[in-house]
Symmetry: C2
Subunit: 203 residues, 2 copies
Amino acid sequence: MQAAETLIGEAGPRGFTLREVARRAGVSHNAPYRHFASRDDLLLAVAAEGFGRLQATMTKCMQHGASARERLVLCGCGYVEFALRWPRHFLVMFDLAGELQSKHDRPQIGESAFRVLLDAIVALQQGGVLPADDPLPRAWTAWALVHGIAKLAIGGNLPLNQRKTLEFTRQAAESVLRGIEHFSNHENFDDTMSSTGRGCILE
Amino acid sequence: MQAAETLIGEAGPRGFTLREVARRAGVSHNAPYRHFASRDDLLLAVAAEGFGRLQATMTKCMQHGASARERLVLCGCGYVEFALRWPRHFLVMFDLAGELQSKHDRPQIGESAFRVLLDAIVALQQGGVLPADDPLPRAWTAWALVHGIAKLAIGGNLPLNQRKTLEFTRQAAESVLRGIEHFSNHENFDDTMSSTGRGCILE
DNA sequence: CAAACCATGTTGACATGCGCAACATCTGGT
DNA sequence: ACCAGATGTTGCGCATGTCAACATGGTTTG
């Protein structure tokens, strides 16, 4: 496992090779099969480990916040910070884990990381900052924002260094928070939604 | 190229094989090398084609908007709609193109797609809806939102079908737009920024 | 018109990687 | 002492990416 994680950190998902992991661990090229069913299975284990550390990073960053509102912003910053510090782990977690777990009837890895963010939203609702309606759409919005920032930053699409990326994340998070707290016209997404004002899908 | 694109649509980046493309094209396993330097080069060509279609989808969706504000929202919806309709193309464009083009001194593929969104932001500034400061941070925020929604939806992390995902995108985009239009405390990101209120990076 | 040239395609070979099967070793329990 | 299970090893078949050498058909040029 340790060799696998360091290799992911160095080579990324594309350069990740079962045999190279075995070489680094000082064992034969087939030894990993005694612990993992396949290459993808090892990747999935690395991804699971990564999700645990992502959750830890977020909760740790939140501890520096005084208010519930600041804690939510810091939660998002922690998300991006994790992605910046372990970009290749992040790629494995989201680029591959989704594909792989969908074959295994999706045990929904990484659910706990999302719950941290969701709880931060609920805390704001209980504090009266946000309306006490369905918190999921707001949580999805926040998640999408930080996830998008993380992905774009990793891909080199944002011309910012790490510190500026984090600073931008904080400001963007506060902007979005302003946007979702002023009104509450998020509709219901519980399978009974009407199709008002559809964009231009499948035209 | 046609065989390559259909294969990407069916098998995704992981199942994409140079030899399979050759088989589908009815040629020998080495024929593609007369047109592309390597497997990655072919992937990059597919990604470039995809970015062109992404830009076309966004501009087409924007035409249905009456106001500049509605056009920006539809622009984001077009982004997500493209990702939902050609999810594997989308993965190639962003998951692989970033890695590959970074080796080739980044000709910055996909720049034109971002410009569509940036122009929509500038249009709102010229219309007085948004302050006329640096439009980049706002554009990044919008981009990150729709990109995050697209990635999460493709990965199956949003429990919404395609139509609901698009409806959610529209509402989230309007929420974020409210957030970035009310205030304008986006700081300057031109290499001269101070490190005020840093989150908890590299602690 | 013939010769050189180029684009395209083909065959063969080599290195690497994944995954399977059979065999070896080492440990703990009875 | 013996067995069962866990772990590791060697060897193999298959698929892939990539390179090198060769073939072919059309185009340009002397």
